[in-house]
């Protein structure tokens, strides 16, 4: 039995990287043509959970709600964090869920994971129109302490507490790093600035060991996968899917394109003449700058 059980909740998202994304003629996302991938914030959450594996030999479970193809996101996350359990919550009934209804499914799933979960990691937010509320709402439903914008953390296994550094940004003020100690269990939403540091030989050796294990496991991810529909999960149908979503999206507007205030000129980088032009422009701009 591990001393620490952690969970990660992740999301399959459209791959916005070059060459993978496709748009409809009206400028909206063409979901059928766009490739999907593990959301970048979910990936960061997986990295943060992996830190617990390397440092505390934690057991990791990953959960996601989505269509059957969302199992690929579980595989990708397992490749990062060497999880021993993968949960996919998949049911037509879940469709149309807002953040609150999603939180209900995730909460129920987390309670079904192996071991009593001590820390749940979630991404900062999703990149395809999510508002960063799923995490806090899931935490609230679980009754876990919520720690947002975490850039670093340590666990005190004896005291059963977590000591986390949070990046606090307030408009008009300098960013501050706040250190917080909270009793387990906690729900951590990981800041994009999170980066794990492994700086002893032992840590680096276990890092290598688990990385290798992660590759082997994720190559056979189906072996670790459990798929739940609403009934298997045992959720109350009132709280999930469209029915459980109090949010009503009554209109989606395209963000109006700002009028460009600057004129761009396209220069050909392989053309000597064009390069010369660029340098001349830079010179012009620099000479206009007065450095005091």
């Amino acid at each position: 039995m591990s001393d620490l059980n952690v969970a990660i909740v992740i999301k399959l998202e459209p791959d916005f990287s070059e060459g993978n994304v496709s748009y409809n003629p009206d400028g909206t996302l063409n979901r059928a043509e766009t490739k999907n991938t593990l959301g970048p914030h979910s990936a960061i959450a997986a990295h943060a959970a992996f830190y617990s594996k390397v440092m505390y030999d934690a057991k990791i479970s990953i959960g996601t709600m989505g269509p059957p193809i969302a199992d690929s996101s579980l595989q990708m996350a397992q490749r990062i964090c060497d999880a021993e359990e993968l949960h996919l919550y998949s049911d037509r009934i879940f469709a149309g869920a807002d953040t609150l209804a999603t939180a209900e499914v995730l909460k129920t799933g987390i309670e079904k994971m192996q071991g009593k979960i001590d820390i749940v990691f979630a991404g900062h937010r999703a990149s395809d129109g999510e508002t960063g509320q799923t995490g806090p709402q899931t935490a609230w439903k679980l009754g876990f302490t919520f720690l947002g914008n975490v850039i670093d953390y340590k666990v005190d296994l004896k005291e059963r507490t977590v000591i986390a550094k949070r990046m606090v940004s307030l408009q008009g003020f300098n960013d501050i790093v706040e250190e917080i100690e909270a009793p387990l269990p906690v729900f951590i939403s990981v800041d994009p600035a999170y980066k794990a540091n492994f700086n002893t030989v032992l840590q680096r050796l276990s890092l290598e060991k688990y990385k290798k294990e992660a590759k082997i496991r994720s190559d056979n991810y189906k072996h670790y996968l459990k798929v739940f529909n609403a009934q298997q999960l045992g959720v109350d149908l009132k709280f999930v899917g469209l029915l459980g979503s109090p949010t009503i999206v009554y209109k989606v507007e395209r963000i109006p394109k700002g009028k460009a205030t600057r004129q761009a000129e396209i220069l050909d980088g392989s053309n000597q003449e064009d390069l010369r032009k660029a340098v001349a422009k830079m010179k012009e701009a620099l000479s206009a700058m007065v450095i005091k």
């Binding site: 050796l205 290598e208 396209i266």
Partner: protein, 625 residues
Amino acid sequence: MEKYDVAIIGGGSAGLAALKQLSNLGKQAVLLEAGNKIGSKNVSGGILYSKRPKKGHVHNVEDVYGDIFLSEAPFERKITKYILHSTSKDKVYSIDLTAAHEYESNFGYSVLMNKLNGWFAEQAAESAQRFGGGIISGVRVNSIEWDEKNDRTIIRTDELEEFEVKAIIAADGVNSEVAQISGARPKFTPEQLYQGVKVVVKLPEDVINTRFNLIPDEGIAHLFAGDITLNHIGGGFLYTNKDTLSIGAVYHFDSLLANPTEPYTLVNSLLKNPMISEFIKDEVPTRGKIDKNLPQEEQIRNRFAITKLIKSWRELREAYLSQKGKNDLLKSGKYQSVDEIKEQLDSIHNQLTQKYDVSFVTDYVEVEYSAKLVPDGKRCRMLKPYNKNILFIGDAAGRGVFVGPRIEGLNIGIDDAFRAAEAVARALDKNNFDPNYLGEYYATSVDESPYTRDMKQIDKDYLKIFLDATKDIPSDIISTRYGAVLKLMSSDTFRSVAVKFANILGYERLLPMVESEDTYVKVPIEIAKRLGKTIQPTYTPSIPSIADRVAKLNFNDDNNSHIKVTNPQSEFLKKIITLCPTKCYSLENQQVMLQHEGCIECGTCSQETDWKHPRGEKGVVYQYG
């Protein structure tokens, strides 16, 4: 502080073999490698030999890694032919030296270090893990402290917290910093070094098979002497890999300092030789001029389309011209038949020529440029390859050896590694790391290695093989002006007693005579002139500039320079302006200046600079090596 039994510093082929062998013996060891990925810093020619000496025993790669090496390791081709060419302008005279290649050898495989060391690392890490050890890359050792009061050795790195070990194996290569920080030996001097420079050329597998007359997986080594050396002592090589060629030049550093020539000029001299340029030629797409009358957006779109199509054409052609590539394509279900692949290939070809004004010309495709110093083991082998509780192996111990016309460093480093592992395991068993117990045992073992003990005998045997191979050269060809030993070749009577004569002369006097301008330059030129076949070049290879070569390399830039110029007026460094393979040095107001970006860590400038390897993960990242 964390404690481990053994630290191995450097993850080249020698260090990795030490880790694997220590694990085979059930011992715990941690290997630290500065490069961000194992294999990213290692350069070789290279042919990896497995040897079977008449007397005594050497430890080969398959002894360390087991038979799985032969069945699974990603080596390139098994070398079965070995030819030496004398060159003079467009004339080449070839001598079959396969007997020298087969001399006391089980096999010789052509290898690319990035791939091969990656495989070695997987094997070694897996074994090491079982005993609480392993490989950590991206970490550079910067100092070692011998805390005598507490009887402990502390390793410090740029990246990790310090830790304690009982013994150290230094496998940090020819520019060993461990040798410096431990005071084990001074830096190697130019008389003790060669400079090697190499390019990797891409060529489809089937083209290599046909052009070099090889069956799949079989390879050939071509060696070159004569005018391609531009009067330097050393020579060139061309080894066939699976779908690349390794072409390089290795010259004595002394000879380069006496008459500085840019390393790229030396390697270019090989590429321009008509025999080699015919070997490397391929069908290469070249872009036409973009129609400047088109709207600029369209010009850009066309450029992208061309780039994408050329990439597809290259990839598909590479697969089509290789047995495995073809099979993989058919297995993937993307194509139903080989003809279908060919059709698609032709269709891309047509699109490129007809729609996008791309023409296909005869040229060659260079994918990597690299360089490194090579220790001349006959002149710089550490006679005492240990200091305190450190054992030196491979290039760090100055072990690279020129056997006849070729370098052997890989196999000797592996033999060292095996012996060092044995010595360390023995010391761990007795918990005795005293130099008299650990170091001396290792030194004796290295002395007993046929690679050390029989070095002179091996040279003499080679001479014999060489003389046999050249017996058809008419006796008048080598005029009396040229070296005494080579003159022997011209005389039937002398040839039979040449080896005896070499014995009488003594090895120390023989060595400089054999390794002379006569041997590498004058005599081969004379032979080629008089007996050589003329080769008509069918095209002129467009050789990239050094700036283009550097631009093609990958670097993890470090703002801090790992090299410091301590004396900007140094005459030595003034020559390094020419001898740095990537032109990092320049002269400004009579002061030598260094721009470290672009440094490929060859070590050529290390003699008179404060020279360190870059911090962990930083610096050059070779893809082939």
